[in-house]
């Protein structure tokens, strides 16, 4: 079986496309042979080169340079790559000062595996911050991860830092596992969309039906839909990323 990945993005209203600071893996919609790795990261608005950091993280996850079993070490190696890339760039005093503080990103990475001879498999995920995974089967939301209520979103989530993480931070990195079946769908999102998704669920709605229309039928287009939600103040004005995974 293969994983069919559809990815969508839209930068914060008022920002240029080049200022989009989320990142996702794979970097285009495609079919992935199983086992496959999917990720979404969200660079911190307050930091510099956070989009670069988000991009480094999802690439490293996708290329299996970060392993769940040695997650802090893997992230630490990627932080050195971030530092090496920006070290020799010319920087005004205010960027120099901010680089000294390091940069940050929320991250969720998912491993999808296939049970040979069947139309099902297993999944595992690791998350730091408020990028989320939602596992949907038919009319049911089976797993929201790592956030299970809209009230858990905050303005100061734990983020992966290029400056290292202490033991308390590492204890807050969360993992989850489960199994999938043919017909299931996974949605990965950065925080603005994830908050909207959770809030809709809490109102008794089934937001994944709408997401299915957007990701598979592409009606309405992701951009038009997000802009409409922002105008109705149902969605926080932030970078928006949606990655859907189905199986064929």
């Amino acid at each position: 079986m293969k994983a069919c990945v559809n990815a969508f993005r839209l930068q914060k209203a008022g920002n240029a496309d080049s200022e989009y600071e989320d990142s996702f893996w794979p970097q285009t919609s495609c079919e992935q042979t199983l086992p496959a790795r999917i990720a979404v990261a969200d660079g911190a608005t307050d930091a510099v080169y956070s989009g670069l950091w988000a991009n480094i993280l999802v690439r490293a996850w996708g290329r299996r340079r970060i392993k769940t079993a040695s997650f802090p070490e893997g992230v630490g190696k990627q932080a050195k790559i971030w530092q090496r890339i920006i070290r020799h760039r010319r920087k005004p005093w205010y960027v120099e000062e901010k680089v000294r503080l390091g940069t940050y990103a929320a991250f969720i990475g998912v491993d999808l595996d296939h049970t040979p001879g069947s139309s099902s498999g297993s999944w595992s995920a690791i998350a730091c911050g408020d990028c989320c995974l939602f596992h949907v089967r038919d009319t049911e939301l089976i797993t929201p991860f790592p956030v299970s209520r809209s009230s858990e979103f905050s303005n100061s989530p734990l983020l992966l830092s290029t400056s290292g993480m202490n033991r308390d931070d590492l204890n807050r990195v969360q993992t989850a596992t489960g199994s999938w079946e043919e017909g299931d769908c996974f949605y990965l999102m950065s925080d603005a969309l994830a908050y909207w998704f959770m809030a809709k669920c809490e109102l008794g709605a089934v937001p994944w039906q709408l997401l299915s229309d957007i990701t598979l039928a592409r009606q309405p287009s992701f951009q038009v839909w997000v802009q409409d939600l922002r105008e109705r103040h149902e969605l926080k004005n932030d970078d928006c990323t949606l990655v859907s995974v189905t199986f064929e």
């Binding site: 008022g14 200022e19 307050d46 510099v48 080169y49 920006i86 920087k91 005004p92 005093w93 205010y94 960027v95 120099e96 000062e97 901010k98 004005n237």
Partner: protein, 265 residues
């Protein structure tokens, strides 16, 4: 809900600093006899401007989420930036970031975690130099601030309300500032009234510092009570941030006022 407008490059807000530069600012900071209040205040303003620039900095440059106005009052009243920004009334934060008067190298001392002192060289951008000269024409300064804020609001009617941060060590020498302060805070955008923060720097080392009081009961004199009466109530988000991130316990009704506040410089 008031005070919820998004601050963005399309909808920036304004910070106005009103700085007392009267002769009494040459007095020493209580318990720091080698440091004048004017010097401590200049350090504090430069540090604040540095923080504002850094908050708006991204790798491609400084995003203009704010404009900044610094008005000094003492021997004269007017824009108080030094260097290439001298004379400019309203300065986008990107220009503030890119045009400090100079960058000084200073030594920052901090605990090294092993009982010693760690000395670290840091670069300190300077926009504002200390001045201590003349009287305290607070009403004139407030009138200038009000005019600047009014013009800003005509151009940015839906902005997050401008904030006026007023730092003084003495009483006005050109009239009652209360009416001027109330006139300034009666200005509003569609998101709420202009915010006024009054910070009173005292030379009296025996006074008890008071930060963001919710009543005038413990204030030392009528002058402090006027500054309290005219200061804006802190917004809900400000109180929540002060309580959750700075360990304070501010109640509903806490006002943007600090008294005998040299300790915070």
């Amino acid at each position: 809900m008031a005070y919820s407008a998004e601050i963005s490059r399309n909808n920036p807000t304004l910070f106005v600093f009103l700085i007392d530069q009267s002769g009494s600012m040459a007095d020493a900071v209580p318990e720091q006899q080698n440091r004048r209040k004017a010097d401590a205040l200049a350090d504090a303003i430069n540090h604040l401007l540095q923080n504002l620039v850094i908050r708006c900095a991204k790798e491609e440059g400084v995003r203009d989420y704010f404009s900044v106005c610094v008005i000094g009052y003492g021997n004269k009243v007017g824009p108080a930036f030094s260097g290439s920004l001298a004379g400019r009334e309203l300065v986008p934060i990107s220009d503030v970031g890119n045009m400090p008067a100079r960058i000084e190298e200073r030594v920052k001392k901090s605990d090294d975690g092993a009982g010693g002192i760690l000395e670290q060289k840091i670069r300190m951008p300077i926009w504002f130099d200390p001045i201590a000269d003349g009287g305290t024409p607070m009403c004139n300064a407030l009138a200038q601030a009000q005019a600047i804020v009014q013009r800003w609001l005509e151009q940015h009617p839906d902005c997050f309300p401008p904030a006026i941060i007023h730092i003084t060590d003495g009483e006005s020498t050109d009239g009652d500032p209360g009416q001027m302060m109330k006139a300034a805070t009666s200005l509003r955008s569609s998101d709420g009234n202009v915010l006024l923060f009054n910070i009173h720097l005292s030379s009296d080392a025996s006074s008890t510092p008071i930060a963001f009081p919710d009543s005038a009961a413990n204030l030392p004199n009528q002058y402090a009570k006027t500054l309290f009466d005219c200061a804006s109530p802190l917004t809900y988000n400000m109180r929540m941030m002060a309580n959750s991130q700075h360990g304070m316990n501010l109640a509903d009704g806490a006002r943007g006022m600090c008294s005998t506040a040299t300790w915070c410089l």
